[in-house]
Symmetry: C2
């Protein structure tokens, strides 16, 4: 029940593609991630996922289209839809909303898969 | 699967205390609300609620403390906790995450209670 200053939380870590938890509600986590370069194609069979860009620009690739998501914009990826986030220039700071059980690489186990998310 | 520009959505309506839906995921709605002056004391018995301030300053009163939530800050109100949002100066633009069934006045039916939320 204390407020959370989001940009301060982003400033407290530097690893890329390693989401950190800042809040929990209704079985969902609020996470922060710093993105750079490419991620991996994946989907989440049972979970929708929200991305909100706080800094920089994220490119979200779908199999049939590409969305460029800038600061102050959000995109919701429905369950079952293959997607691949990417950052073409510099880094992007992204907030995620997703069920607590969600693995960020979805159905793909990858060297970047994190299974033990840290609270910050 | 199209991106949403949040500030543009805020600019598309002017009513206060009348949340508008901009997204849906995992049984939750993402809503936008413009706040001004006082709201009503209430609680949600079965739902946690997240508030994220996009513009202005919101004061969140609890029975035992007060939190001032500024632009770029969030606050999560756990289920069962009485709270009363308020804006002391000008208006505040606030994003909400909460289960689809949530009434914004919780357990209190009030002249401000909206039961039919509009998508924008």
């Amino acid at each position: 029940m204390s407020k959370i200053a989001v940009l301060e939380k982003f400033s407290s870590f530097s690893e890329f593609w390693t989401p950190k938890i800042i809040g929990e509600l209704n079985g969902q986590y609020v996470k922060l991630a710093k993105l750079k370069d490419d991620f991996v194609w994946h989907k989440h069979d049972g979970e929708d996922e929200l991305f909100m860009v706080w800094k920089g620009t994220m490119t979200m690739e779908f199999r049939d289209k590409t969305e460029i998501v800038r600061e102050g914009e959000i995109i919701i990826v429905p369950r079952g839809i293959e997607h691949c986030p990417r950052v073409d220039k510099g880094e992007a700071w992204v907030m995620l909303f997703e069920p607590k059980a969600t693995l960020h690489t979805g159905d793909v186990m990858h060297e970047r898969t994190v299974t033990n998310f840290e609270w910050i």
